[in-house]
Symmetry: C2
């Protein structure tokens, strides 16, 4: 599989949904496979909350491969022998694209908390400029899970004639009150860390790692299903030899502590806050009198909507809502609820059903 | 309704489940109604996580009455014209009973984080000493919701001939992996507050309020149901005039911020940690080869097990598990799943079904 990691710089000004303007920006990208002569074999995969442009393959020294490695590769579900797969770190992120932790072009200072709010449709706008950059007139498919699924849906709405198929996985057309509430708790935890300094921590050479860690521990609980946690950890006590912290009693506590710590060492707090805000505010129907049916009517892409039975963060009702609205809007869409062992995170992992559903969708007529 | 608030001091040494010993302790109590001559009309109500001895009635200057005021009072479900109702703040709490925030008898210092771990069966042991103090040989009923329901169950197990009826509401015989995980996140948030000082904050005259606030915000989400939050707040934006914080966008965020702040001003962080640990470790079957049926076999009390349909913290499966084990153990028990609008918190609020179930249970032959 041919892999190319590249930072693509854009000089154009980007008018954001918030009204603010980014004067030029970088997109960190990674591509897998090769773009054919007709440039009609391109697939865009959009990352979820904590993902980035590294979607497949394993780099030197990495413990884990890219986030969708189980599905992307030669001979895999999204077969890189046939498709040119593009992954991008979204703006506002912290893996190479312009964001709160990259030095501002003009002042050469970190923007930190002053980095503008970005939205799902802003991301889609930048991805459309990236398509132009590659000379891709129309994506064969745009796909993503969770916040990535929201981008896939937004693509179909924003650029009807530039995407043939959109796979909207473990996502919704807007998040629930409970999810907004959970995001607010995560933000509260981070912002009240003594090292947060109102978001200006980078200029002080510190990072609110304690807050990020706890926020991620909470997130992790919501990504997994109760039955999965119960099967993996039950109420087993942690072996004292491997306790990450003396106060830990149960294995599940130790696991969360470990996962949280790992994350806090690699993620930027302002990016975390910004991503959760983008998730909260996603609601494409708001520009169509809050009518999702009306919102979907101009879609030309074919949709595939997938929910997982163990996902309690984005339960199947949200997938069904998109599907029912698509039917009423008279657009081509199919829905499937799949078994998933990993709760919301199920979208990251291979299963035969999941793979068959995606492969057939990708092969079908657009 | 006759109300009596009284601190009862015990000089006896209390051997705790952890192996540590409390040399004397105080219990803050509140009683409603009058104990009859035969002393056989007594009902013990056990408080949940953040509750205390103030279960009913409204004190001067209070905005809200006691936590079970909807059910306790003259002419109410637990009718104080007929019953003598006893409520007690559990040891380790922070409302007058001996706990981390009360000065140690010997040193006159706050015990803070060095206050010993207490368990549900420790609480029941102190409540048994309180029964002795009142001259109550046998409770007509012990009742409680959530962590209070665990105490009701433990009473029936620990003192078979001293309780006639036990109402175990919105509870379980042990909490799930997910609940342990959520408790661990709450503890992490509190302990990493810069004002926590390894639990020794009182001697420094500070309090980890930021951590307590965020922990309570998280707790609050788990106590309410998604449908209730959705009905109350939806995705409505907060009126800018009443924003508690400039960064708040949605009403639900503002509500959680407000609730969290209120709580942080009245609760002790070490108590919070201790209560969650008591909840994590509750598992009476562990002393019976992890066999709940065997554990329940010596119970003489009649049980009433109640779950609420909207409770996702202690879903009905846990109530059903107790009931099925009780049936197999051959003891007298009945189970009902009730509609509740408030998720886990439903146990706090009056409904006709709920009231009828409790009244009939209380009136039935023991």
């Amino acid at each position: 599989m041919k892999v190319n990691t590249e930072k693509v710089s854009f000089v154009e000004s980007l008018a954001l949904e918030s009204g603010e303007v980014l004067h030029g920006f970088d997109l960190m990208t990674e591509t897998y496979g090769e773009l054919n002569y007709a440039k009609d074999n391109a697939v865009l995969v959009c990352h979820a909350f904590s993902g980035n442009h590294h979607a497949a393959g394993k780099r030197d020294g990495e413990k884990k491969p890219g986030w969708w490695d189980e599905l992307i590769g030669d001979g895999k579900t999204i077969d890189t022998r046939n498709y040119f797969v593009v992954a991008v770190n979204n703006i506002g992120g912290c893996h190479g694209s312009t964001g709160p932790a990259t030095p501002n072009n003009e002042s050469n200072q970190f923007s930190g908390a002053s980095f503008p709010e970005v939205s799902v449709s802003d991301w889609v706008k930048t991805q459309k400029l990236l398509a132009d950059h590659f000379g891709i007139d129309c994506w064969e498919m745009v796909a993503g899970g969770s916040l990535g699924g929201m981008q896939a849906l937004q693509w179909a709405i924003s650029y009807p004639n530039r995407v043939k198929k959109a796979a909207i996985i473990a996502a919704s057309s807007k998040i629930s009150t409970q999810n907004i509430a959970l995001n607010e708790v995560a933000r509260e935890i981070i912002k009240k860390d003594e090292d947060f300094h109102d978001g200006d921590y980078l200029s002080k050479d510190v990072s609110p790692k304690k807050g990020l860690k706890a926020a991620r521990m909470l997130g992790h609980i919501t990504y997994l299903s109760e039955s999965n946690m119960s099967k993996r950890f039950g109420r087993r006590l942690q072996d004292p030899k491997n306790k990450i912290d003396a106060d830990v009693n149960y294995e599940v506590e130790n696991y969360l502590q470990y996962k949280g710590e790992q994350f806090a060492n690699t993620f930027d707090a302002n990016s975390y806050i910004l991503m959760t805000k983008a998730m909260d505010s996603f609601d494409p129907a708001k520009d169509f009198d809050n009518d999702l049916i009306k919102c979907l009517q101009t879609i030309q892409a074919k949709l595939l909507v997938i929910s997982f039975d163990s996902d309690w963060l984005f339960p199947k009702e949200y997938g069904v809502e998109i599907q029912m609205s698509a039917i009423k809007a008279g657009i081509d869409s199919s829905y499937i609820e799949l078994e998933g062992d990993y709760g919301h995170d199920s979208f990251l992992f291979y299963s035969e059903q999941y793979s068959v559903a995606l492969t057939n969708f990708l092969k079908s007529d657009g």
